[in-house]
Structure formats: structure tokens, C-alpha cells
Amino acid sequence: MTVMTMAKALNDGLRTAMRDDDRVLLMGEDIGRLGGVFRITDGLLDEFGAARVIDTPLAESGIMGTAVGLAYRGYRPVVEIQFDGFVYPAFDQIVCQVAKLHYRSRGNVRMPLTIRIPWAGGIGAAEHHSESPEAYFVHTSGLRVVAVSNPQDASLCLRQAIACDDPVVFFEPKRLYHAKGEVDPTIDLADAPPMGLARVAREGTDVTILTYGAQVVTALDAATAAEDEGISLEVIDLRSLSPVDYRTVTASVRKTGRVVVTHEAAREAGVGAELIASVTERCFNYLEAAPVRVTGHDIPYPPAKLERYHLPDLDRIMDAVDRVLDRPNSLSGVSA
């Protein structure tokens, strides 16, 4: 066990994956000499050379499309999309090729791509640098989607994603890149639990909070605050957004009977909608109150100075907790 930042854990995970399998290679913008704008690939060019750490031309569709070709040839490309908001030019290659080639080729062609996306807001960034596009990928059959919230998961899940024979879209919350945590970077993948089991980040009895990524930290803060008010929140870090580990989720919901989902992404047809729909289908008779979503508004990501009114913070989570507990101090509410 070592204490390290998530950025370091990811860097370390990449290095391990590249040492373990020489078909693994990295592609992206500025990932070579610069080590990526977040330094996640720092030092890897020196260790593995330009044939395996590839600074590409500035074209995301080109990156994704050539990664598909490399996968055809038996490579395992790990693609870095520089920021969440720049994944869209690659959307066609992801949706029509990466996600479908295994199905379309009747399993003959594997697409073991990992698409790393520095992700989401809260860092005061410029436009297009704080997006939460995860729902697009969750809705895309053929992909797996992972979102991490701490250095240990970052390290292990990234290695698992790279080792996975299916394409994985891997979300790294930018605002946690410098958060530190204990990491065992040497876990044997053969012994590790399968990628994508949800984690009970904090046990509780009154309300289940379903969340992922940086919101896990906010939810844990809310749980601490709630404790002071005598409310016990169970916080579940989903880790895998597709598939979702419903065994862990439903066990919690059946215990608490009350659910709050929180994410930064817009609400409409977001991951929260899926979670509520699925939980309602699976746990209807256990639910004591309507599940509530605490999400980004259904607006384009606002300017940096306003982002704190967009991102669901501790207070908004607590307000939702009040609501599912039917406490009178809930300020929000749903109209007809």
C-alpha cells in the first residue's frame, strides 16, 4: 500500500498495463513529451518509446478510427481524449465502430479499446472542459462504462479496463486527480474482483445515495453532515455505469427504502433516470418514497463562475434527503 494521488495511480496503472502486455499502446493529443495535459502519461514516452506512446494529429475521429484499425491488428489501444468536451468528433467511430464491431463480426473482431476521458466539472475550466457525457455511452450497447472516484479504483479499474476484451469508456474525474488515497498497485488481476462491482462507500440505514465519480466525495460529505442530524446515509459508489451492479444497489435499497441519485450530468435521460427506473422496477415494493435525482440542470454547462450553482452540492443532496424522508424542511419539490 502506498499513498498517492489519483493522477499518479492512473499513471502507474498505465505503466503496469504496458509492462504486462506489449500490445498495449497509448494514443492521444500531447500524451508524449508533455505527458498529457494532466500528466497522466508522464514518463511513459521515455520508458516505452514513440511507437507505444503516440502523439497523434489533432483529430479525435482520426484517433478513434486508427485505434479501431490497431485493434483489428491485435493491439490494445488506450486512447486519451484530452477533455470530456472533445469526445464528440469521435462519436461516430465510437458508436458505429468501436461499440458494434464485435457484434457485427459475430465475435471475430475484438475491440479491446480503453477510452480514457478526463471528466466533469468543478475545476473552474473554460467552456467544453467540464462536460459529463457518460449517459451517451451508457445508452450505447456494446460499450462498457466505468467511472472512478478514488486512487485505488483508478489504478485497478484502469488495468482491468485495459485487460478487458470489450471496449471500455473510462471516466476520470478531473477534480479528484490530485486527491490522495492508499493504493495497492500490485493487485493481481486474476485475483481481483471483476471490474464494475459497486462499492458501499459508507454504510447507512435511512437513505441510499447512488452516485459515482467525484460526486461520491460530495455524497460522503453529505453523509457526514446527515449524521449530525441523526440521519444515516448509505453511499454507493457505482464504479461501473454499464453494466450497473444491481445486486449491491438493490440490497441497499431494500434495506433503506429510500433513494437519492446524484450526478453532475444533466438530468433528462441521464444515468440517474436509468438508475431510478431500474430501482423502481426491481424494488417497487420496498420503496417508501419516490426516488429523487439531484443532478446538473438541463442546461449547457455554465460559465465557471456559475458552476457551483449547477453542480449538485452537499446542500442540494441534503435537501433531497429531506424530501425522500418527507421532512418538512425540504425546499425543492416536484410539480404535477
Partner: protein, 373 residues
């Protein structure tokens, strides 16, 4: 001086402004750039190229017929484009890797696709049938231009493996407008990847004449990206073969990508769903009928006494046999079981989909037991 107003580039889009070795009348004309690449091509190879083209045409006729008879959902005819498909594909080495589009049945056939592979996708049984690694040919692509990037990536893999193979990608004149195709040229150039771009300019993207995509020859774009290119008569199988050999050799020896624009004509409709009379004149089609890729090879060989009726009959018989095989592969096809829609989505277990599959299996089973509702 540094302007690149570039008087050097031919700005004509004239379809006769191409490199050619066999005229429409079957006359062998010299071309200083192409001649060196076909020195070894004698009558017997020409006859086999003729044979391949006839077979491809027969496959195409069968495809159209099967579609008309309701046996295929759709067919994209390659009638008139046999020369570029056969000529370039025959130039490939077995271990090179081809990335074709939906219209390249001639390419997939030459690469080794079996009769079933040529029709079951169009029948709607499977998105694709053959294993790409067996015939070193990718799943034919429908998303216009997407495969060009795959070819470049594959070629980057070849480089990393230190191999001397080449990736070849096929696409149309319409495709040349897609961002992906341009990005493919840029990546190929930047990485010096061993990839050959073959643009089959058949004058149309569905109803749009090539002039919607380009006011000047498409081959003229490649040099701007640092990729040498050639514009050839795509109805001339010998020129197509020669140009492809030039391009492959260029890529194989480590000089990076090369580009071929093969000027040809889509004699049929875009697909069997299309009605080309809405957007082009019979005159134009008639003009191109004169430029038939197969007839000119026959004329040339006959002129040299290297082609007789017996050979023609033999090829026709082979074609009929192949046609029959294609037909029977189509008619004897069986569909997957309903639950088979779930097959092959993921390479490994997936809790969400596995559950959905199990539920659907239970539903189907229960439903099978029911007599009506």
C-alpha cells in the same frame, strides 16, 4: 516562390484525363508510369483477370436477381466497376489487408470470400459472415469513409510489427468529402503508414454527381497531404493493377501511403432501391457502356489471338457455376434463433445483458408454449 496556387496540378475533372493501358477498343497503349509495373503480365494472367471480372459480374447479376425475387433485402451492384476491383485486389498479397466498402463485392471475392459471404449480409441474415483474419479483409463498411481510418490504424500496427504488409482501403467519390477520409490521409502521412487509398470514382454518390464533392480531380488532394497519387482509368483492369502495384510497392518499401483515384462508372442503380432515371440520362449510361471493362480485355486478347470462344464458354460456365453457388448459398440460408439476437455483443460476461437475455429466453419459452393469447 511560395504560393501554392499550383499550376502543376491538373484542374480538369475530365474522365479521360487518366492513365490508361487498354483503351475502350482494346488497344494497348503505352504509359511511361504504368508500363514498368505490368511487364510480367502476359496473356494468361490477362485471361485470368478477364475471368475474375466475368465471375464478379456474374455475382452481381445474381445479387440483383435474388433481390428482385425477394431473396435479398438489398443489393449494391458493382456493374461496370469490375476492373478497378479485380485489378487492384489481384495486386494485393494474401497477407496484405483490405478494408472495403459495401460495393466492393469484387474485392471481397478476389480476397477469398465464399458465395455465402457475398449474399447473406444483403439477405439480412448477418451483419457479416466471414472471419476477417481468414481472408485478411475487414467487414465491409457502410458508414461512408470510416474504414479508411481503420486501414491507417492497421497499417500503423504493421509498422509496429516490423512487417512488410500493406493495408488497402476502398471508398467512393462521395466518401472523399467525409472528414474521416481526410483525417485518414493526414494520419497516414504523419506516420508514414503503409496504406494504399483506392478511391473508386464512379461519378455518383447515389444521385449526386461527383462535381458536388469536387470541382477538381480527387487524386489532386493527396499530394497536398504529402501522399503521391495517380489517377487511372478504373475501367482498365491492367492500368488498375499497374497503379496498385506502384502504390503497394511504394508503401511496402517504407515510403508511406499512396493514393489511387480510379475513374469508373456505376452502370447500375446505387442499390436495388434506387431509381437512377430520376437523376441521370440514358445517354450518359450508353456512353459508358462503350467503355466496358470486360469487353476491352476480350478485344485485346482476341486481337492477339489469345482468346477464343472455347475459353469464353469455359469462363461463362465457371460463372454459371459460381452464380448457382451464390444462389444456393442464399436459398439454403437459415436464420439464427430468436435468442441469437443477443449473441456476440460482448466478448465477456455482462451482468446487464446476460440478465436481459435470460429474461427474453424465458419469455420466448413461455410464449412458445402458449397457443395464441
Amino acid at each position: 516562390m511560395v504560393h501554392t496556387l499550383n499550376p502543376g496540378v491538373s484542374l480538369r475533372t475530365d474522365v479521360d484525363d487518366v492513365a490508361r493501358l487498354l483503351t475502350a477498343e482494346g488497344e494497348r497503349i503505352p504509359d511511361p508510369d504504368l508500363d514498368p509495373w505490368v511487364e510480367d503480365i502476359g496473356p494468361s494472367i490477362l485471361r485470368s483477370l478477364y475471368r475474375d471480372m466475368v465471375l464478379v459480374r456474374r455475382i452481381d447479376t445474381e445479387g440483383v436477381a435474388l433481390q428482385r425475387q425477394g431473396q435479398l433485402g438489398l443489393w449494391a451492384p458493382c456493374l461496370g466497376q469490375e476492373a478497378v476491383q479485380v485489378g487492384t485486389a489481384r495486386a494485393l498479397r494474401r497477407d496484405d489487408f483490405a478494408f472495403p466498402s459495401y460495393r466492393e463485392s469484387g474485392v471481397t471475392f478476389v480476397r477469398g470470400a465464399k458465395p455465402a459471404d457475398l449474399v447473406l449480409t444483403w439477405r439480412g441474415e448477418e451483419h457479416s459472415t466471414f472471419d476477417p483474419s481468414e481472408i485478411n479483409t475487414a467487414v465491409p463498411q457502410i458508414i461512408i469513409g470510416a474504414q479508411t481510418l481503420h486501414a491507417v490504424g492497421y497499417a500503423m500496427g504493421i509498422q509496429r510489427d516490423g512487417a512488410d504488409q500493406v493495408a488497402a482501403t476502398y471508398f467512393g467519390d462521395g466518401a472523399s468529402s467525409q472528414g474521416d477520409v481526410n483525417e485518414a490521409m493526414i494520419f497516414a502521412s504523419s506516420f508514414g503508414a503503409p496504406v494504399v487509398f483506392v478511391c473508386s470514382n464512379n461519378q455518383y454518390a447515389i444521385s449526386e454527381p461527383v462535381t458536388v464533392q469536387a470541382k477538381f480531380p480527387i487524386a489532386g488532394r493527396a499530394p497536398g497531404f504529402g501522399i503521391p497519387s495517380m489517377r487511372v482509368d478504373g475501367n482498365d483492369v491492367l492500368a488498375s493493377l499497374a497503379a496498385m502495384r506502384w502504390a503497394l510497392e511504394h508503401a511496402r518499401r517504407g515510403d508511406g501511403p499512396a493514393f489511387i483515384e480510379a475513374v469508373t462508372y456505376r452502370m447500375g442503380p446505387h442499390t436495388t432501391s434506387d431509381d437512377p432515371t430520376r437523376y441521370r440520362d440514358a445517354d450518359e449510361v450508353a456512353l459508358w457502356r462503350e467503355r466496358d471493362p470486360i469487353a476491352r480485355v476480350e478485344a485485346y486478347l482476341r486481337g492477339r489471338g489469345e482468346f477464343d470462344d472455347e475459353f469464353a464458354q469455359q469462363v461463362a460456365a465457371d460463372a454459371d457455376a459460381l452464380g448457382a453457388d451464390v444462389r444456393s448459398a442464399c436459398l439454403t440460408a437459415t436464420s439464427r434463433e430468436p435468442i441469437g439476437v443477443f449473441d456476440g455483443v460482448y466478448a465477456g460476461p455482462h451482468s446487464g445483458l446476460d440478465e436481459q437475455r435470460a429474461q427474453f429466453a424465458a419469455y420466448l419459452e413461455g410464449f412458445a408454449g402458449e397457443v395464441g393469447r
